[in-house]
Symmetry: C2
Subunit: 683 residues, 2 copies
């Protein structure tokens, strides 16, 4: 009924200030206004999140198609707060009417752990008598406690403590010197922190103790490299410049580039959210995606020894990909002409805060877009491509995730993720066997096997919201070699399987058929191929969830059980592991499995408004070259138009060089066109 109430609410346009776009993240002013209203009505609470309560889709679609006359969706804030005593409240504030439209106590959940929550643990750990005692046992004297560090993680789920008490586990490390990397000196015990009482309530101590490593530091910061002989001097500069500026226009948060139009949103959990993505097809603005985001991820570690099973971070749902985003103010992360966007959040005390340059938007040369040479006369064309990259980078304790949303001129959308940063490490005694659950990447340093499984949420809008998902398998034709129908045995075709229900749509990757998935609009056929217009998901890094069926991770990360799930669209189904992820037991499994159960696994997802959830990623068995800091490992997937366009949509990109048969036969080999970098054609 919250929904109903909001359906009614429409935005009163403020005559003086331009109203934010309904998809825009909350401004600091809006955050402050929401906080003030809640303070006023509900007194002192700690704020966990104040973020955009996204416009209801039905109302938003109406407004998008008719912004002049359709009611403008209200600006609203989605609030998570923790009252004294740890009571969690979920609220919605209508900012146009300055009214709290929802304020509900949500029992037995834990909202995500903020950076502020993380920051306070280390100081408490250092002063805790039992921690000091444990440090002593492995060889760290009390006077060295300032050299003890910890990466606080949400506890995930520990059946001994359940969900009621807000907890963190402290992964312990040591730094001989403040500039040393602590990951070379992992400590073998794990304190558990109560976020309400600010106390260490328990310490998990292994049966086999592992004294502090005596190995020399293994560092990556410049001072250490200088000591080791310094930096290589044989790299000559590459300058990338755009003297005339960029090829895109930014109107507030809406970007126009090479026929694409994209609204760039951002929130504390998912980070970048791309909305209302359209492609201008020869003057016809065609909707492609209503919303794209990285909605969740899980990083299960493969060491079965207690308490390592607790290491399976949901970095988005438990910490927030937005909250952990790097400020790119220092530059150096991108080259060329960069357009940055900031990100606004609330802090625990209710003040609005800003991450400067949270989002980087820039163009890159994309190499050859297309080329052909006629072998007869060397008539030819070669055209270079461009790409638009919308990126952010977030740091999850030891690890870095660089997220690149890449738009290509030919209608392809690419999601690339680069993994870098530092391996999570645990201590290993000299000569101790890792039992294959990890790799000794440096003396005394055990880097455990792990997976990075991401969940891409695709809300397709392929020429409208009425879409259908097909599984496409490359298969052999009928008939054995020698048979009449397949005499030479070479027949093969694309076998398409329509998903009519969420149950059918629970599907895994199949490399033997190089499986892809098509999001199609069956109401619109390509005039030439007579096939439905669609976008195809091409994704090859699709490992299965390795934790077994019935395991803790399997239960908590329901979205990761299959490469693809498809659900009927629902406004409130954004987070596939649930709204509040920390300390969920997985019984029942929140998010996708619960939604599918509730809507009915046999409900129709055919020719209707649907959402496709894609789990992809990689399995990482560490090796010494990943240490002490990991060279970036890239991973990518594509969303490609198929039977969507009547024709290659980039033929009008100016070629670098072209010459026609008649130009050659007449001795003229200059195409008379410009290179697409503006300089004149080479002949």
């Amino acid at each position: 009924m919250v929904l109903d109430r909001l359906q009614q609410l429409t935005h009163q346009v403020n005559a003086t200030a331009p109203a934010p776009h309904p998809f825009d993240p909350l401004t600091t002013g809006e955050i402050d206004a929401a906080v003030a209203l809640i303070r006023k009505e509900h007194g002192p609470v700690n704020f966990n999140a104040v973020t955009l309560y996204e416009p209801r889709k039905a109302q938003m679609m109406a407004w998008l198609s008719n912004p002049e006359t359709a009611p403008r969706p209200a600006r609203a804030a989605d609030v998570v707060a923790i009252a004294p005593g740890g009571k969690v409240y979920d609220g919605i504030v209508n900012l146009d009417e300055k009214k709290i439209v929802q304020w509900e106590h949500t029992p037995n959940v834990q909202p995500l752990i903020t950076m502020e929550d993380l920051q306070e643990v280390e100081f408490i750990v250092r002063k805790d008598a039992k921690v000091i005692e444990q440090c002593g046992i492995i060889g760290i004297p009390p006077e060295d406690m300032h050299k003890v560090y910890c990466d606080p993680w949400t506890i995930g789920y520990d059946e001994r403590f359940g969900t009621g008490v807000r907890l963190q586990q402290a992964l312990m490390y040591y730094r001989p010197h403040v500039d040393d990397s602590q990951y070379t000196y992992p400590l073998d015990f794990c304190p558990i922190f109560n976020a309400e009482t600010k106390q260490i309530i328990h310490i998990d101590v292994p049966s086999v103790r592992r004294p502090l490593s005596k190995a020399s530091p293994n560092n990556y910061l410049p001072e250490a490299i200088e000591k080791e002989g310094g930096f290589r001097k044989d790299i000559k500069p590459i300058h990338i410049t755009q003297p005339e500026g960029v090829s895109f226009q930014v109107n507030n948060r809406t970007i126009d580039w090479q026929n694409w139009n994209i609204h760039v949103g951002f929130n504390y959990k998912e980070g970048i959210v791309l909305n209302n993505i359209t492609f201008n097809d020869k003057g016809n603005v065609r909707p492609v995606f209503y919303r794209l985001s990285l909605a969740e991820m899980v990083v299960p570690y493969g060491n079965p020894e207690h308490p390592h099973q607790r290491k399976h971070a949901f970095d988005l749902g438990e910490y927030g990909g937005g909250y952990m985003t790097n400020s790119l103010s220092l530059g150096c992360d991108c080259k060329g002409a960069i357009h940055y966007m900031d990100a606004a959040f609330v802090n625990r005390a209710g003040a609005s805060t800003i991450i400067k340059n949270a989002i980087c938007i820039h163009e890159e040369d994309a190499g050859i877009l297309f080329k052909h040479t006629d072998f007869r006369d060397e008539s030819m064309v070669v055209t270079r491509g461009r790409k638009l990259i919308i990126s952010h980078i977030f740091t999850a304790a030891n690890y870095e995730y660089c997220v690149y949303w890449i738009f290509h001129q030919d209608g392809t959308v690419q999601l690339e993720i680069k993994l870098t940063g530092i391996l999570n490490t645990y201590s290993l005694n000299p000569g101790e066997d890792t039992h294959g659950w990890g790799t000794e990447v440096y003396p005394g340093v055990n880097a455990h096997n792990h997976q990075h499984l991401f969940c891409l949420r695709v809300d397709p809008n392929i020429d409208g919201p009425q879409n259908t998902v097909f599984q496409v398998d490359a298969v052999q034709g009928p008939g054995e070699p020698g048979s009449e129908e397949n005499k030479y045995g070479n027949a093969f075709y694309a076998k398409k399987t329509k998903y009519t229900t969420p149950l059918e749509a629970m599907s895994d990757y199949n490399a033997s058929t190089t499986r892809t998935w098509e999001m199609a609009n069956t109401n619109k056929l390509n005039p030439y191929s007579k096939k439905p217009v669609c976008y195809k998901l091409v994704s090859r890094e699709v490992p299965p969830l390795l934790p077994k069926k019935g395991s803790l991770v399997y239960k908590r990360a329901g979205f990761a059980r299959h490469a693809v799930h498809v659900t009927k669209y629902s406004d409130d189904e954004i987070h596939p592991a649930g709204r509040h992820v920390p300390q969920t037991s997985g019984e029942p499994s929140n998010g996708l499995p619960a939604w599918i159960e509730a809507a009915g696994p046999d409900c129709s997802i055919e020719n209707t408004d649907i959402v496709l959830w894609h789990t992809f990623g990689l399995t990482h068995f560490p090796s010494p070259e990943d240490y002490p800091i990991m060279p970036a490992e890239p991973m990518t997937l594509l969303l490609r138009p198929r039977n969507f366009f009547d024709r290659n949509p980039v033929l009008d990109v100016p070629p670098s060089y072209a010459r026609s048969p008649s130009q050659i036969s007449s001795g003229k080999s200059d195409c008379g066109c410009q290179k697409n970098d503006g300089s004149s054609v080479l002949v």
Copy 2:
């Protein structure tokens, strides 16, 4: 015994001119010398190939390890010639001793089809009475025969004509205007050309005729685009410049870059061949690969209707990736500071010829190499990477293959292939059903389903030639959730299976275990992980060969039956579909299957000199956006060092920005180091 004879031969260093490196392709002078010797002894022959007869590995390894005193391998030419009457001769000429050491008639084979062979067919087709008759039947009057074109292909294998007679099949097209793309006007019949008699000996005519399409042209050259409204004008220039030049040194054909040392060879079949690839690991020059090349490929089409089964081109073995290589003299294919290399070949008449700028060598910025920020104090490092790209582009009739050998600073070797150019097309009547074997990409234009399957030949030299291949599968640990050994069900590990014989090594990709393959030196363990040093093949675009077991393609393309084969090294095993590919029946299957059979499928490939053959590629179901010219579709694989280095080997690459905890606490946040583009650090 040819081999024995050559083992003896060593190079007499010419005091005056510097001798070519033993891996260097033949110079024009060497080609001319070989031709002269053969002319003198064997009179008039047509030359099909005169290329480097590669040094025998044993001798070459000895020389590489001791160039001062070990005998220098002889320069020798590998010759293929066709004598009058079509007799094929395989010869070897020792260029140092000016002596023909082998000249053998090879019965019942057909050497590859050269560009000269292809060029002559169209003229003959246009004059052939029966072709003119067939054109008339589908609506092309005799006076328009100059508008008739053909793409001549090797016939592949047609049981009606066998191997004895040298044949080509002419895929027929029509151009309304000389500047129109003929692929929009495919003709429905297929003449067969006898290369000896220069006659059309047969025409395959379909039972259902397909009159010439009346559709308007669908073109991509600038004049046509201008007529349709011209080029987009909203692309601003991106300039990529290297004011201080490139970061690599080229010594003849040997490249030094970022600890890599690579010899760049080139031949008419494989195109780029990379030899003696080493990595300087802190002063220790370590061998990595003896030889890398794209050794073969096959492009099976999936339409079972006769005669389309003949469309399964082996573009390297049947035409030559080197022979078909584009001259990049016109530039525009790469940006930045480019180093080019030419390619020298022989023509039919025996004259040496040159393709200018056949190979492009350049550097590119590679984005973030590594980054980490400490959430405590925002101490951090971010370092940008570089890549070195050695590339060539070849045109196989309608199609373009852009081949990029990419070297990364962290020891990774990447092979990227971009597919572009034009779809092979066949005619379709209005309303005719494609039966799913193709897609109507434009009225009357049927683009058939096809695969592109490439065979990467890897001759590993991982700290020496004694290598072993392991299959690595990510698998779940033993014990169900709740069991003592795997209480939380999260156990997983890397299961390694040693290949001891070629039979065991015949393996396919398995996505459910994200299978990789390791080329390891089991004689050398990583000091920390205690695992063998190795390079891992990470390849995800690995479709199975879709033509069925026992099919024509299955028999002819034995290499494509599995993702991986491993063989014991043999000097003469380079071409996995055999030395002479055109018109092979596949009975027996040449190349890999024959070699494995001959050496014994159970011979040992453990801890010895081995070669890994990897088949990868993609399955292409065309769609209208691929037409009239295809936006480049990329495909990539990685060869990554694992347990090879003691540590991340790029820590000494100057960071773009860094600041240490102590710098921050002391208020200094400038790392005092240079950005790796030479400019000073941002603060």
